[in-house]
């Protein structure tokens, strides 16, 4: 059935071809620029459009020239399109799907009539460096320039409302990664796997086969044999439509898998024993006037269009050939019914001068003076060896004049090359070479032999053809012409690396694979140097552009939950993200929660508190080393508050440690500082004092921790504890007891207080945490028990004057500055930070942490507000809240030493610039400074 496109009325689809990859039994339609087109499964966007006679696929980046298919491959520089919400889609690579909506890019208002194509008329003025030279002055106008220039920026568009897709990552550890699934690559994979290696075979096209896929009957027969061999050989993971984008130190190889089931793209991080580069050769375009007009194609492009998708690339053709690929194209064109009007054989010195046309090719002017009217010009002038992956291993390509292309420099044990980049030869020779490389790779990966000899491939002579006598485009992606490159050299950019950066040649989406050798040849000709002496630009990762989605992959952001989290969620707690923990900030009214604690009893989930189980006879030595205060005489059942400083005397963390047994202690640290404290402990034990007999285990998650606070705290606890005496004499302040809580053995109770109220911190085995929490609330209903969140706790502790490390201290706060003078015991033999604190003790030039009370009780200066005196910053607010207990605002902050005396008047500058006068309080605590409630 013929499937003529209604939009064009043209049908260029051929009858069935032996190697075609379209499924004629599965027709479909898609839209291009708003019109509906027919296609078959297996068609790419451009093959389907070409079958409908569409010639112009997009407009170029800079001059908005009409562009069409050239390579019919991923590299096609004129075929970047928008598909749905996805910009910059490679239309010669992306398969059409039913209902797909594709649109051209870089064209306004339409692909046919693009207003910005007026840039082409300005081409003489838009030479290399135009932007650098033109928009430098006047400097003040740059914002205006920028707005205009952004309107000319190329590419598609992404909607902020675009749905997120599933991008993925995975790790792999193959013995051998073969980059390229052509004949040599397949042979290498089979040989390596047969030698016992685990092989990852990566091919950019949707199928294995390389150039065999669009070859004649013998090539197709060989292709079948090789595919069968791959399938029959165990140990080969085949990744098609995938690309090795980079090789890094240690043969860390990045592979982007483009069409894995269920994911858009997957980044595979493979640690390869040996990397085999087998990317094949890339056909070079020829530089001449009009070489970008739609209808000018490479020989491989025309052959792929005919043989893979059964599309006739034109009606009347001229073929410029310098090699067997061009000769084969002549045969394929004739076989496809194309009228080959003229064969220009470059091997005989023949040449083309220019192509003529606008939106499509109309004629070709040849060097012999003839002009041939035609709609297709096929060129076959040579090859580029994409040695990128080898370059990433340190290889520097070497130019071979005989073959007129670069070859790998060689000399790597864990990165090998095979196929076209390594040399020429018959198909059998390439397969044999691939097999030898595969065997060597397996031996090297298994460290059987590091220097296995690999036979060389022959190098065939090829004419050195880069540019005709007219100027044309060198870089089709960036619209850089040979004339611009010559002008760059004339301006002094006479090194290929400088010329590249000045003109942006080789820096577009094709990343030099089509244009780098031509750019080198043009620069060499302009400087008078040889191509070999000119060298190449350096190919760096990525080998092929990588989407941000592939780089991002899945988002792994661990979160930690307390056992009581389901209750918090069910009771409307507002979540607070505290590092990785999700905590209840409040349950609706933090001030009411504060009042509930002050007047009755409240519960707070403090599970995130860092907890460490310490055992061994040398624990006191460890504690003395970590804390600035003394620990040698901590009695059994007692708890002590401790402050840790780093070696520079800066406050690191604080917490309490209780003695549970003769050689058994439980230490707590702040929620946010727990990981730091763990590393700090292990650092001392593993590197400074490995002789100390101490075992430390992190038990933060082992216990559900609940603080019961308020004047009725003891009453509430007594409802769930019956094997521990809770009276003030039996269980006084700063003591720890173990026992059963709500019937749960292995629980601990600490009598400590952060809120300033009578309080008990209970720790129950975590699996029972939710049950105990619910039991406390249920049994304490008559006592009016209420849960309170982190915000209420922060208010309560500020009222009581307890500092929070990291909130009321910073990376410069030493112990004396934080008002911790009482804890510093310089008479201890040693502790972390002792020298620095000894030094600070004798000084008087540091800020002091003080309590502050704004004169206007309704003013709550924002935390971080500066304290100024005569225009000079003399401190800052570290904590501030409205106190529900006092009915006024209270603060804590740092002030200069001369302002630290109680009663000192200070001036706070709020973020809006207003002044808030305040006075220094006698002590940090502004509620119950004598601690009567705490000791109740």
């Amino acid at each position: 059935m013929r499937r003529k496109a209604q939009a064009t009325g043209v049908d260029m689809r051929l009858g069935p071809r032996p190697g075609e990859i379209i499924d004629r039994s599965r027709g479909l339609t898609f839209t291009w620029d708003g019109d509906t087109y027919p296609a078959y499964r297996g068609d790419t966007i451009t093959s389907a459009l070409a079958a409908a006679g569409v010639r112009v696929m997009s407009r170029s980046f800079k001059y908005h020239r009409p562009r069409g298919v050239m390579t019919t491959s991923y590299l096609d520089p004129g075929c970047l399109v928008q598909v749905g919400d996805e910009p910059n889609v490679r239309a010669s690579h992306r398969m059409v799907e039913p209902g797909m909506s594709a649109r051209p890019q870089n064209a306004w208002p339409s692909l046919r009539y693009d207003v910005k194509s007026a840039n082409g008329a300005l081409a003489p003025f838009l030479s290399a460096g135009f932007y650098y030279k033109t928009f430098m002055r006047p400097k003040r106008l740059w914002p205006a320039y920028e707005r205009v220039l952004r309107g000319f920026s190329p590419g598609g568009a992404v909607s902020p409302e675009a749905a997120h897709d599933y991008y993925d990552k995975r790790y792999a550890h193959p013995d051998v990664v073969v980059a390229g699934g052509g004949p040599a690559g397949m042979a290498a994979a089979v040989a390596a796997a047969a030698a016992g290696a685990a092989v990852m075979l990566v091919e950019g096209e949707p199928e294995l086969g390389g150039h065999l896929r669009w070859g004649a009957a013998p090539e197709l027969a060989a292709l079948g044999d090789l595919r069968r061999a791959v399938a029959a050989t165990g140990g080969i993971e085949v990744l098609t439509d995938s690309v090795v984008t980079g090789r890094y130190d240690g043969n860390w190889v990045a592979v982007v898998q483009r069409s894995a089931p269920g994911v858009v793209e997957r980044l595979i991080k493979a640690r390869a024993g040996v990397l085999v580069a087998a990317p094949g050769l890339i056909e070079r375009p020829y530089v001449f006037s009009g070489n970008d007009i739609p209808g000018v194609m490479l020989s491989t492009g025309a052959r792929r269009l005919i043989n893979l998708w059964a599309v006739k690339p034109g009606e009347r053709a001229v073929v410029l050939t310098a090699n067997s690929s061009g000769d084969a194209a002549v045969c394929d064109l004739a076989d496809a019914g194309v009228d080959v009007l003229k064969i220009v054989d470059a091997r005989s010195g023949e040449d083309v001068v220019r192509a003529k046309g606008g939106r499509t090719l109309r004629a070709v002017e040849c060097a012999d003076g003839t002009t041939v009217e035609c709609d297709l010009l096929v060129t076959a002038v040579g090859w580029t060896a994409p040695t990128s992956l080898l370059n990433m291993a340190g290889d520097r390509p070497v130019y071979n004049e005989r073959a007129a292309r670069f070859f790998p420099g060689g000399g790597h044990d864990d990165v090998l090359a095979t196929g076209g980049i390594a040399g020429d030869g018959s198909l059998e020779q390439l397969i044999d070479h691939g097999s030898a490389v595969g065997r060597a790779a397996a031996r090297r990966a298994h460290e059987v032999s590091a220097t296995t000899e690999i036979p060389s491939l022959p190098v065939e002579a090829h004419p050195a053809l880069f540019k005709a006598r007219t100027h044309g485009f060198v870089d089709f992606s960036e619209d850089v012409s040979s004339k611009e490159l010559e002008e760059a050299v004339a301006e002094g950019y006479d090194s290929i690396e400088l010329a590249k950066r000045y003109t942006t040649a080789t820096m577009g989406p094709a990343q030099g694979k089509l244009e780098s050798v031509n750019a080198v040849a043009v620069v060499a000709a302009a400087t008078g140097a040889t191509i070999a002496a000119t060298g190449t630009t350096v190919w760096r990762p990525p080998y092929s552009p990588v989407t941000l989605g592939a780089l991002a992959g899945r988002s792994f952001e661990p979160v930690r939950y307390s056992p009581m989290q389901p209750w918090h969620e069910a009771h409307g707690a507002k979540p607070l993200v505290a590092g990785q923990w999700i905590r209840p900030d409040h349950y609706g009214d933090p001030a009411a929660e504060v009042r509930s604690v002050r007047s009755g009893v409240g519960l707070i989930d403090v599970t995130p508190l860092g907890k460490f189980d310490l055992r061994g006879p040398d624990v006191p030595k460890l504690l003395n080393q970590l804390y600035i205060n003394k620990w040698s005489k901590l009695a059994l059942g007692s708890v002590r508050y401790g402050v840790m400083c780093a070696e520079d005397g800066v406050v690191l963390d604080d917490g309490v440690t209780g003695r549970l047994g003769d050689d058994h202690y439980l230490m707590t640290a702040t929620s946010s500082g727990a990981e730091t404290v763990w590393e700090w402990i292990e650092s001392w034990l593993q590197t400074e004092h490995p002789e100390w007999r101490v075992h430390v285990a992190r038990v933060t998650s082992d216990f559900a921790s609940i603080n019961i606070a308020g004047p009725r705290a003891r009453d509430l606890l007594s409802l769930v504890v019956d094997d521990v005496a809770l009276g003030p004499e039996e269980f006084p302040y700063m003591r720890v007891r173990s026992g059963s809580i709500a019937g749960i053995d292995g629980s601990f109770m600490w009598r400590i207080g952060f809120t300033g109220e009578l309080s008990y911190e209970i720790h129950v085995p975590a699996s029972y945490g939710l049950g105990v929490w619910e039991t406390l609330l249920e049994r304490g209903a008559d006592l009016g028990v209420k849960p309170f969140g982190v915000e209420a706790q922060r208010i309560l502790r500020l009222e009581k004057g307890h500092l929070i490390v990291g909130q009321d201290t910073d990376g410069l706060t030493r112990a004396y500055g934080a008002g911790l003078d009482w804890a510093v015991k310089l008479d201890k033999e040693d502790f972390a930070g002792k020298p620095e604190l000894g030094w600070q003790e004798g000084r008087d030039d540091f800020l002091r942490l003080v309590g502050l009370r704004p004169l206007e009780g309704t003013a709550v200066p924002a935390e971080g507000s500066q304290i100024v005196e005569a225009g000079i910053i003399v401190g800052r607010i570290t904590s501030s809240r409205m106190s529900p207990t006092l009915g006024r605002s209270i603060c804590m902050g740092f002030v200069a030493p001369h302002l630290a005396e109680p009663g000192s008047a200070i001036s706070i500058v709020a973020p809006d610039g207003s002044r808030v006068p305040a006075v220094v309080t006698p002590q940090l605590a502004q509620v119950d400074p004598k601690g009567e409630r705490l000791h109740g």
């Binding site: 790790y171 792994f556 939950y561 285990a697």
Partner: protein, 212 residues
């Protein structure tokens, strides 16, 4: 005082239908999928620190990086250079701690800590268990590096995690355990990574209560 019947709960919400087995809330789901994930939270887990060449180290008999089952059916995993994690039947924690402490001599520093409630333990079983884990963990899971009984600690979905390869009747199976507070997140990350392999949550049975 009549104590309330406080049941033990895993950090992972049990898949429907929930049930209570031996005081633990567990999932009663039964899956026949080729790739399953089971929350094994109730199993006893004991963290042991001791010198590898001491009495306890010799008794445990499992070197760092390997796992083995002792005659009592306890899985002993060498989780650190001087550290082991033991997995025993539900409720066996206290006995295991006692057994270790009984072996420790006067001169040897030995600690045995029941971390049953502090570690989330899951079992991932199926032919696709390895490719699933390779999406979350950079360690080489191939047989040459990580054969059956291999034990390692690494980042899994960015959480410090202990992984024990403990195949079941020739089917690849991994015990995965981390700090309890990360359990819900890690369980979700494993299910997310396993979606393309058809992973299903399987329930926890009283049979499994007897050990790993």
């Amino acid at each position: 005082m009549a104590e309330p019947a406080v049941i033990a709960r895993s950090p992972i919400t049990p898949a429907e239908p929930p049930s209570v087995v031996d005081g633990w809330e567990v999932s009663g789901r039964r899956s026949g999928a080729g790739l399953t994930l089971v929350d094994c939270m109730p199993l006893a887990k004991i963290l042991v620190r001791a010198a590898p060449d001491g009495a306890v180290g010799r008794w445990l008999g499992t070197p760092f990086g390997r796992a083995g089952t002792n005659p009592d059916g306890v899985l002993v995993t060498g989780s650190g250079p001087d550290e082991w994690t033991l997995f025993g039947p539900h409720g066996s924690g206290r006995a295991l701690v006692g057994a270790v402490e009984d072996l420790s001599g006067e001169r040897e520093l030995v600690s045995a800590l029941d971390v049953t409630h502090g570690r989330t333990l899951m079992r991932l079983t199926g032919a696709a268990a390895r490719p699933l884990l390779s999406k979350l963990c950079a360690v080489d899971l191939g047989n040459a590096v990580s054969p059956n009984s291999a034990v390692f600690r690494s980042s899994v979905a960015k959480v410090i995690t202990d992984v024990v390869r403990d195949d079941r009747s020739g089917v690849p199976s991994y015990l995965v355990h981390c700090e309890r507070s990360y359990g819900s997140y890690l369980f979700g990350a494993l299910l997310d990574a396993g979606a393309e392999f058809g992973i299903e949550v399987d329930g926890y049975t009283s049979t499994e209560m007897r050990g790993v």
